[in-house]
């Protein structure tokens, strides 16, 4: 897609002879345009001189011109923020060359010129002259998208049918002449290649072309929308060019395809890593390596590939290859390599994609429609939230654009077209967040610019596995170098329209939900039940039972307790209980089971006491049933130590469950062997209703109904005066509820008011009352300022009720 670029040979820019550099030149200067001596380029002596052609040529240079790279502007490219396009470009150059020192300096540089100077000192990598236009193009596209002035300018220049000429002395990017010289020299005789100019030309061209198309198609598009449409089309261009370059490189389409939609225009998100990936494998050398990388990621990609129809062929070959891999899943276990992986590259939209995928195989038709409606629905909502890092306010409204499906225009078979849509569409669902590129693609395959996706050359897939490892390493660092934030969308739950639910209503709702697979779950449960006597037998022999596996094991353990332990001493511990302490457990054992009175210096002391009680008297069996021995409060090393010491006592048995995936890490070698666990996989798939009810889930509103009820109990037992004091405090807080600096009511103030209301007669009585509140955790005090936090969410209601 790029123009053939001649490699700049080391030609002297003074005498135009090869073999030496400008600085060492002894010869008489020649005109750079006609290579004759005696005049400078752009002077009327030059045979290539022409009259001012500034009507045809748009020469640009310097930081005043928006088209120039030196133009200072905030630009987000490659996931970084730059102060000018030049900085981005030079930084890329330095990084590619491996000159990180220079890269740092470029990052710190104050002006674009400084960047350029530093950049010039960098010895570019061998492939740089090939990569440079692509990098530049990337930057320019970003610039056009992000900088409104740039957009305006580029449109204007293009509509004036002018030629872009980058009038700098750069032989490669520019025309090799300054702006006056450029204007006065025949474009054909420009010594420089004017790559930058051509590049802008191309960008403007396709952008314009698509905007033309869109406007002709969408007759209803108002003038107001035109610029937005342009924006869209520009995105489309980017998309296309990206696709195109991808095809060039990999011979296939992008993998981040989306759901099919009927409308032709669509936006697809391409993540930062993709952009970088796209830049990186420009040349052939990289190409094969990239392929290898792909293979290493096959496993994850496979999912994404699966339902993208047009790459089904590849997919098949993928799965073929995978079939050869020996399955390590002996005995129904998952191989460790599957469980413990590094982070892998993910497209941000893949979740939505996966979701839609779940339905695709069944009813592709309806999906086509549905997902369409989904995304258009989303598009509306998008308008509300400003997009992060957005340069122009215009962009926010882009989604309003309505488009109509267009009939396919012959030539391309419909099926193929549909596939292409599949690919291009991905979209809004995928979130917009990092606006590196979120684009809109015209998916009409008949456009000359977008060729029909070629079939994948199979030969590429033959890859040596040996080279995978270093790429995994690279991949790893690639992934970790970019922040995780950049790839998620900005939507919040506030959009749901409904508020957060509280725990109670949640439970109420869930109770009504029919559970899936209840029959199978019941069957599994019965199978687990049959193990009860086995557990008991092993426990008789000094082992302890540890249950693991997905699903709540509470019911099973309770069942076990009721059926097997009903006649025996046992203590049940809810490990997930948020305010559980080891003291509670030990006290329960000593006070309620051993019925011994005593004070203990430390928990260890208490363990010693329990031990002596069990081991010196006659043999007795005792069972400790711990739901979630990996509960938050039981995790500390000391507590596990104590529990493991308990487990060593003769006749002391533990039945416990774990749920957290990293739970075994709480035990070291010694503790593990003290416990003498026998592990049982009791996957039940039952919901963790009780276990998660304490958890401060994100989505659940904490009602504090507990505090409310406890407060009403306390209130009932209070004297009228005390009630009045409490109400006084509460009212004060309510009055000040909007003030963010409100700390609380000072004790002095409170005392004053209470006195005024004849509620207390001395400071002491007030303090006595407050102590009572504090003991019931109704108020909090801080230093000398009494801070009262109403611990219930509906104070008004509460107070009204009290009256």
């Amino acid at each position: 897609m790029f123009i053939n670029i001649e490699k700049p040979t080391s030609t002297c820019t003074n005498c135009w002879e090869t073999g030496h550099s400008f600085r060492l030149c002894q010869n008489i200067p020649r005109c750079s345009a006609c290579k004759e001596t005696g005049h400078k380029p752009g002077s009327n002596l030059c045979p290539q001189y022409i009259e001012d052609n500034s009507n045809e040529v748009e020469a640009f240079d310097g930081k005043e011109n928006v088209l120039s790279n030196f133009f200072p502007c905030e630009l987000m490219v490659f996931g970084e923020c730059f102060e000018s396009a030049e900085q981005a470009f030079q930084l890329t150059k330095a990084v590619r060359a491996g000159d990180l020192l220079a890269a740092e300096r470029i990052r710190a540089a104050k002006s674009a010129l400084e960047c350029k100077q530093i950049g010039n000192s960098v010895l570019p990598s061998t492939s740089w002259h090939q990569d440079a236009p692509m990098v530049m193009e990337e930057i320019v596209i970003e610039k056009v998208k992000q900088i409104s002035e740039m957009k305006k300018k580029i449109t204007q220049v293009f509509t004036d049918e002018k030629v872009f000429a980058h009038s700098v002395y750069d032989q490669f990017l520019g025309t090799g002449l300054n702006s006056t010289q450029t204007v006065h020299t025949n474009p054909k005789a420009w010594p420089g290649q004017n790559v930058m100019g051509k590049l802008l030309q191309r960008v403007a061209e396709s952008f314009h072309a698509s905007s033309q198309r869109t406007s002709s198609r969408n007759r209803k598009t108002t003038v107001n929308n035109a610029s937005k449409a342009n924006q869209k089309d520009l995105d489309g261009y980017v998309k296309k060019s990206k696709l195109f370059s991808r095809e060039m490189k990999h011979g296939k389409m992008t993998t981040n395809s989306g759901r099919p939609r009927r409308k032709c225009v669509s936006v697809s998100f391409v993540g930062d890593d993709d952009v970088i990936g796209h830049i990186v494998d420009v040349n052939k050398k990289y190409e094969s390596r990239k392929q290898k990388k792909r293979l290493s990621l096959q496993h994850t990609r496979k999912n994404q590939l699966k339902y993208t129809e047009d790459i089904e062929i590849i997919e098949q070959s993928d799965s073929d290859e995978e079939n050869f891999q020996p399955s390590e899943q002996g005995d129904g276990q998952v191989a460790g390599s599957d469980v413990f992986q590094f982070k892998t590259a993910k497209k941000s939209g893949s979740m939505a994609l996966k979701a839609s995928e779940a339905r695709t195989p069944k009813t592709p038709k309806s999906i086509l429609k549905n997902s369409n409606s989904v995304s258009s629905g989303k598009r509306k909502t998008e308008n509300v939230t400003p997009r992060k890092g957005e340069g122009t306010p215009k962009k926010g409204t882009q989604g309003k654009l309505t488009r109509k499906g267009r009939k396919p225009e012959a030539t391309t078979p419909f099926k193929l077209r549909k596939r292409a849509e599949y690919i291009c569409d991905d979209v809004d669902v995928d979130s917009d967040s990092s606006d590196t590129d979120s684009e809109d693609g015209e998916s009409d395959t008949e456009t000359s610019a977008t060729p029909v996706p070629p079939t994948t050359p199979r030969s590429r897939r033959k890859i040596q596995e040996a080279a995978d490892m270093p790429h995994m390493v690279e991949e790893y660092f690639d992934l970790h170098s970019q922040g995780g934030l950049s790839t998620t969308s900005d939507r919040t739950l506030a959009k749901l329209g409904t508020g957060k639910m509280d725990q109670e209503s949640l439970n109420e709702l869930l109770r009504r939900v029919p559970s899936k697979h209840s029959r199978e779950c019941q069957q599994m449960y019965e199978e687990h039940r049959e193990l009860f006597h086995k557990w008991m037998f092993y426990m008789c022999n000094g082992y302890n039972i540890l249950l693991h596996g997905l699903g709540s094991k509470r019911t099973l353990l309770e069942d076990f307790r009721r059926s097997e332990l009903k006649d025996l001493d046992h203590v049940v511990v809810n490990g997930y209980f948020p305010s559980l302490t080891i003291k509670h457990i030990l006290n329960t054992i000593t006070d309620e089971i051993l019925e011994a009175e005593g004070t203990y210096k430390s928990p260890l002391d208490q363990v010693e006491f329990i031990k002596s009680q069990f081991e010196t008297k006659d043999y007795r069996d005792f069972f400790l049933v711990v739901h979630n021995i990996d509960g938050v409060m039981l995790r500390p090393e000391k507590i596990q130590n104590i529990l493991s010491l308990l487990s060593q006592i003769r006749g002391f048995h533990i039945v416990a469950s774990i749920d957290h995936i990293n739970a075994p890490l709480i035990w070291d070698q010694t503790k593990c062997s003290r416990y003498r666990w026998l592990w049982y996989d009791v996957t039940t798939y039952l919901p963790y209703t009780d276990e998660t009810s304490y958890e401060n889930s994100l989505l659940v509103q904490q009602t504090g109904s507990l505090a409310l009820s406890s407060m009403s109990h306390v209130m009932k037992s209070l004297t009228t005066n005390a009630k009045q004091i409490f109400l006084l405090l509460a009212k004060h807080q309510l009055e000040n509820k909007d003030s963010s600096t409100y700390l609380g009511m000072s004790l002095q103030d409170l005392y004053q008011r209470c006195r005024e209301a004849f509620l207390v007669n001395s400071d002491l009585t007030l303090r006595a009352q407050l102590t009572e509140f504090r003991d019931h955790k109704l108020i909090k005090s801080k230093k000398f300022v009494l801070i009262k936090h109403l611990s219930f969410p509906f104070p008004e209601m509460m107070i009204l009720k009290k009256r």
Partner: protein, 704 residues
């Protein structure tokens, strides 16, 4: 009382009427044939035997190192006299034994408790053991030391008035200890009678028994506590005879890492190396698994698994024994005819008392079926239908396994001796490796075995004789009748090797004579003849002949006795090889179980609807699986809103899917999603984050 959703309590106690449980009743419930009582008896008896044997081994193993330690503790304060400290003003160093115990920390508790009792018996009743868990400050450490010393039951059997009150109201300092010690042994000095009775069984304790303080896990002590404690103790070394024993799991350098030079210079250290745990393991394997004394055996896979757990996980013999015990229990629990796994004496009674159902059960064993098929047809019918005949056959077969065992182990030891010196150890260095190969397949058919025999055919005379000698000496145990001639055979061979020089002299002249008879021939025949001659020259020397003969003898011996146990009929009764059970229950991988359940619910549910390729999502899956699979597609952060949308897209059926519904799903769907997410949070896959609103952070990267 419902324990689930209480908001005020986390613990609930239930008192029961019964005091204890009985293994019987639980064993009974799994019974199908009514053999539970016998099986349980056999199991308990077998386990008791093995357990006592292990105890013996344990004390044997450490006896030497304990002796050294005892000697050290005794000798370190021989010249100690009370009041000596005041005279000798130069501060002494504290004698310290650095006891390197090895990394198998789970076994240390037992080791130290035996050490304590040994020291109390042989050195001094004043022994204190400190564990890092009790010693988080100097005060605690001191009080722990003093309580252990003062409340020693050995001291106060008769001497009631000497008890220094309750430790609680006593100031815990070294000076208390010093005055107590002086008080005690000064008075003892004046009344030697009392001292004698005090000393109890250990009369040779000397006048001033040293105070031995053991640090069980030195590495886990807090450095500053340890430093202060040592400094304090050093100040009193002149007044009381202190001895330290440091239990070190890693290496002596740990002491220097913990203690600065100023402190470590107060110690006079001597290193004691405990035998490595592999030695203990070898003993256990040799004495328990590789004897005919205990009929229960481990099959090849289980044996290998337990070895692997030992070698690659913990080096803990206790855990190995735990595994062994579990294997035994499971064997007797699950195999209804395992009561036949008894000693030879009881065998006949047990077999004759078999009930028809049990006989049927035995018939079903795979190895027996194979055996019957190999029998002549006339016999086959009897075997399958006639219980009497079958029972007789059982006795024969089971006896055969017993005799097989009695032959196997001596011969196996010989094999190990023969192959253990061979370069590269094709059959393994350790006896356990050779044994594990034997369990797996017929060892004499393996390539490695053939290689060994080839290499043995090349050994020098000295080496071979050495090997023979070793074999001979290993065969000291009482041998079964079939092998009783083996030692004498070996002796004969050895004799012949010794006399081999005489034989050579006789035979050599013949050879030389022959070679002298050269006739006149043409070149071709000469060459042929010379070639033949060359071959003849290679003709074996008497030593080589004898060597070949010896190796052949051993080869046939091995081939005869070292049969793979799985080739014997009814081996299932003795060999336990349920590898999966052991793996699942002793060496489980809980995370992979959870991830398996999440990623392919079909594996557990066995339903038709969820049957799909791994990685795909179907609406029929449990909610949590859907949420999990969707979250796999995300990077570090997950947008809850997007997640919810995706979830709703998957879950809703096609008919009621409309724009509005997805955009604003009904409460029920939301609730299901909330539940799924909070469950994932509970399992540790995601956690709330404040980096972005309404986002959660992903915590794992593996997905399958």
């Amino acid at each position: 009382m419902e324990t689930g959703s209480s908001v005020s309590k986390g613990t609930f106690a239930y008192k029961g009427k019964k005091r204890s449980i009985d293994a019987d009743q639980y064993f009974k419930r799994s019974d199908t044939l009514g053999t539970y009582r016998q099986r349980l008896d056999v199991l308990q008896e077998a386990w008791e035997n093995i357990d006592t044997q292990i105890q013996i081994l344990r004390s044997d193993l450490n006896s030497k190192i304990f002796d050294d330690l005892v000697k050290f503790a005794k000798s370190s304060h021989e010249s100690f006299t009370l009041g000596g400290g005041q005279i000798d003003s130069t501060p002494k160093e504290i004698p310290t034994a650095a006891f390197v115990t090895g990394v198998n920390t789970p076994d240390h508790g037992v080791m130290f408790s035996t050490l304590v009792t040994t020291l109390q018996d042989k050195v001094s009743p004043l022994v204190a053991i400190l564990k890092s868990k009790d010693c988080n400050s100097v005060k605690n450490t001191l009080s722990k030391t003093l309580t252990q010393l003062f409340q020693n039951p050995l001291l106060f059997s008769e001497d009631d008035e000497a008890i220094p009150g309750n430790t609680k109201n006593m100031t815990c300092s070294m000076s208390t200890l010093v005055s107590w010690y002086q008080d005690k042994y000064n008075t003892n000095n004046s009344s030697p009678k009392k001292r004698k009775s005090l000393g109890g069984g250990s009369k040779d304790l000397g006048q001033y028994p040293p105070i031995v303080i053991l640090f069980e896990d030195l590495e886990s002590f807090l450095p500053h506590v340890l430093q202060d404690y040592i400094s304090i103790c050093r100040n009193y070394i002149g007044e009381i005879p202190l001895v330290f024993v440091f239990g070190i799991a890693t290496s002596v350098s740990a002491v220097h890492r913990l203690l600065p030079n100023a402190v470590s210079s107060m110690l006079c250290m001597e290193k004691f190396q405990a035998p490595p745990s592999t030695e203990y393991l070898n003993m256990v394997i040799n004495q328990i698994l590789m004897t005919s004394r205990y009929p229960f055996k481990l099959g090849s896979k289980v044996f290998q698994l337990l070895l692997d757990i030992f070698l690659y996980h913990d080096f803990s013999v206790l855990n190995f024994i735990k595994g062994l015990q579990f294997a035994m229990m499971d064997h007797f629990f699950t195999n209804p005819v395992s009561h036949l796994c008894c000693s030879v004496e009881e065998l006949e009674d047990r077999v004759t008392s078999l009930k028809p159902k049990e006989v049927e059960q035995v018939r079903r064993l795979m190895s027996f079926r194979g055996f019957v098929e190999g029998c002549p047809p006339s016999k086959q019918e009897d075997m399958l239908l006639n219980d009497k005949v079958t029972k007789l056959e059982f006795v024969v077969l089971l006896r055969r396994i017993h005799t097989y065992h009695s032959h196997l182990y001596p011969v196996l030891k010989c094999l190990h001796i023969m192959v253990s010196k061979i370069p590269k150890h094709p059959l393994g260095k350790q006896l356990r490796e050779v044994y594990s190969r034997l369990l797996k397949s017929f060892i004499c058919d393996t390539e490695d075995y053939k290689e060994c025999i080839e290499l043995l055919r090349m050994t020098s005379k000295d080496e071979l004789m050495d090997l023979l000698q070793q074999c001979r000496s290993s065969l000291t145990e009482d041998l079964p009748p079939d092998l009783s001639t083996l030692p004498s055979d070996l002796d004969a061979l050895l004799d012949r090797f010794l006399k081999i020089d005489e034989v050579t002299e006789e035979e050599t002249p013949e050879n030389t004579e022959e070679s002298l008879h050269l006739e006149k021939t043409d070149l071709h025949t000469l060459r042929k003849r010379l070639q033949e001659e060359g071959k003849k020259k290679k003709k074996l020397s008497p030593y080589e002949k004898l060597r070949n003969e010896t190796i052949d003898f051993f080869d046939s011996l091995f081939r005869k006795y070292l049969v793979c146990p799985t080739s014997l009929p009814l081996y299932e009764i003795f060999y336990y090889d349920a590898w999966g059970e052991i793996k699942r229950h002793l060496n489980a991988s809980p995370r992979s179980v959870v991830q398996m359940a999440l990623s392919s619910p079909h594996h557990y549910l066995q339903c038709k609807c969820c049957e799909s390729e791994p990685g795909s999502v179907t609406p029929s899956m449990p909610d949590i699986c859907i949420a999990y699979k969707l979250h796999l597609e995300c990077t570090q952060l997950i947008n809850l809103y997007d997640w919810l949308q995706a979830f709703v897209t998957v879950v809703t059926t096609d008919e009621d899917l409309d724009e509005e519904k997805i955009k604003n799903p009904d409460k029920e769907l939301q609730a299901r999603f909330i539940r799924a997410v909070s469950e994932l949070q509970f399992l540790g896959f995601v956690k709330p984050t404040k980096r972005k609103t309404d986002h959660v952070a992903r915590l794992t990267w593996g997905g399958c």
